[in-house]
Subunit: 408 residues, 2 copies
């Protein structure tokens, strides 16, 4: 929890510096929300149940659909753009993976009502900043475009069905398998070669050259170039790669897509994914541009751990030991004084001896121990012990706060 | 969310000053966990479903059972006492009330392994402090004891069945109804009178006098008196009342129970409830003393609103307007500088004119607007507009941070 709180607090700060505002939606939604977005196949992967009122519900598998549902229901009249961020637990009934449990925590955001290059450059830059700001050193930002991929599919004359078969291969960069598959369904060798060249290339000039005959794609690529320029010159992020093989799992994305990997994680290295999509009209709202991303919380923690990141440590600042029962009330009074100063203060609650209580203080990583004994108390004093070096000093109770504050 | 974040942050600080550590448990649990604790009747009030593996699950209706399950499974060997706090969403399938929805947020804590008077005085004092520290002025702390009530039931020779019928009446302080009910089942009038006198009395001396023949109760009352003394003298909380009619809804409480009301809320005024209970052995662990409490998050917000509490306000600190498209990149660079200083910075993302963008800045409660125009930019300057008084000044870009910081 200390790690989660650290990451959440850090991410909230970053979201807010970018002018995003926090939102929260319910843990469960009507099942239809997710099947409308992702098709019926998703039912196999989610927790779904019928409530006592006969409604078919689902524990949310992700947070974009709930946020856009909320926007469509309640926020359509708000001034645009709306920039919303959120944290929430999501649920998938699939095989647990490393850093991906059946219940998992996500951070994410949506921008609603703006699709200028500066809006999307800001979105990508924010995703990158969120992960850099929590302390990750080794991340890789990859940017793709689904409009380009879709146009290529059209050029290859691939049916929806065939597209669905080839998409997972593209997603996993299995280029040999893509080659065999496209050959099998009689796509001319030359076209296959160009297609795979494009998927593998991260050189914008080469991509533009290969696609120079298609005006839709050329427009889209020049829009992408504006985003890249802003990332590079204005946001000073230049370690990203073009990667047209990013296809994302979901049908509703279009245009810009991006992913951020933490290569230290090995095979399951993706910690952020997002892009622009069309969903408001699916839920019956007035179509408006939408984009967003999600960050996996648990994988982010794993990646930080693998980079040996120093998380804030768990500690008790002060542990107070009443030597006898008669000192309990005075000990509590001292504890309350320290608590009012915001110090994390434990007091022995088991009336055990000093040595046993010191041992407990040690397991709780207490920084200082205050021993309240009868003799010192007569002089309105207590013993303060530094748990690092074992040094002890008798301190007047009225000076206790200033002593603890200066001796940190 | 701003209100929730404020309350959560404030409560975390208070929990930590009392030496409590944060814990989190899953959103759903095996249904049995809750029926073992609260009986089968609870099934009617909770969200329960069968997962794809045939397990009977339930969305947690409360957080004590999950935390004690976690303790029993994983934490039994930890040094005692364990002081755990948590925040979590819970779910009940009952009629939504004011400040009590089907999904609701709770704050709470458990102390495991200590039942000294100082442990329980600290627990009650912390509950009180949590609510005072978030800013509530008008709260009422009531303290009861279920061992006393149970002994009284025995004296009246009430069967479990009859107890169950009378408990809701006691809970609602319906004394006339209690009278009629006990009369109907032939309890002698004098005993009924004493019983109701006890339920209504908040005078410890009177209670002791009425119960002086029962040694179990007298021991329990003297234990309670030690708690009261510590609350009064050491914790300096003296506005609490003895209220033996506190019965809590649940079977597993014993000994100390307490509730905190926010009288401003009217009929549904309870915002905190807790006490000591036996649950570890129910889940197969080695019996150890346990106590805790829960605070209703949404009712706490409602109570603060009714007291006209001033929550932290939602605002954007800075809104930046590029006058033309050519100024976008420079504007982003300025935005990034401010964000690196932790300032909440929006930038116009829709390439709209200055006046439209100023209007948007207004709806977002922006404190300052920075207008990046071509002429000023030539002199490496921008215009800074104070949104409160409308004053504008031309400022060098290199001085922008110091200007904004001093002009707050």
């Amino acid at each position: 929890m200390e790690k989660r709180r650290y990451i959440e607090g850090n991410m909230i700060s970053t979201f807010k510096t970018f002018g995003y505002e926090e939102i929260q939606t319910p843990t469960f939604e009507i099942l239809e929300l997710f099947t409308e977005k992702s098709g019926n196949a998703i039912i196999d992967e989610i927790y779904t149940f019928t409530d006592k009122g006969g409604r078919q519900l689902a524990l949310r598998p992700e947070l974009t659909a709930p946020v856009i549902r909320f926007y469509t229901d309640k926020l359509q009249m708000e001034p645009k753009p709306l920039k919303l961020f959120y944290f929430g637990n999501c649920f998938r009934y699939d095989r647990p993976q490393k850093g991906r449990y059946r219940e998992f925590r996500q951070a994410g955001c949506e921008i609603i009502g703006a699709d200028t290059p500066e809006a999307y450059a800001e979105l990508v830059a924010m995703a990158y900043s969120l992960l850099k700001n929590v302390g990750l050193n080794n991340i890789q930002l990859n940017i793709g475009n689904l409009t380009v991929i879709n146009t290529l599919f059209k050029q290859l004359d691939l049916s929806k069905d065939k597209q669905k078969q080839v998409l997972p291969l593209i997603d996993k960069s299995q280029f040999d398998e893509i080659y065999s598959f496209l050959q099998e369904i009689s796509i001319p060798n030359e076209n296959i070669k160009t297609f795979i060249d494009l998927l593998q290339s991260s050189d914008m000039n080469k991509i533009k050259e290969l696609l120079k005959d298609n005006s839709t794609v050329i427009n889209e690529l020049s829009y992408m170039e504006t985003i890249f320029d802003l990332l590079d010159t204005a946001f000073q992020i230049n370690d990203f790669q073009i990667k047209l093989s990013i296809v994302r799992g979901l049908d509703y994305y279009k245009g810009l897509v991006f992913e951020i990997d933490a290569p230290t994680l090995g095979a399951e290295k993706q910690i952020c994914g997002g892009g622009s999509y069309e969903l408001v009209s699916v839920f019956g709202g007035k179509e408006t541009p939408t984009a967003g991303f999600a960050i996996g919380f648990d994988r982010t923690i794993l990646a930080l751990e693998l980079e040996n990141f120093t998380f804030p440590s768990i500690k008790t600042e002060i542990h107070i030991i009443p030597v006898t029962k008669d000192m309990i009330s005075n000990s509590i009074e001292i504890a309350q004084k320290l608590r009012n100063e915001g110090m994390q203060t434990n007091i022995d609650l088991l009336q055990r001896g000093v040595s046993k209580s010191l041992k407990y203080a040690n397991t709780k990583h207490a920084e200082k121990v205050i021993i309240v004994g009868p003799k010192e108390l007569e002089n309105e004093s207590v013993t303060v012990r530094d748990m690092k070096d074992g040094n002890q000093a008798v301190v007047k109770i009225k000076d206790i706060i200033s002593t603890l504050k200066t001796n940190k």
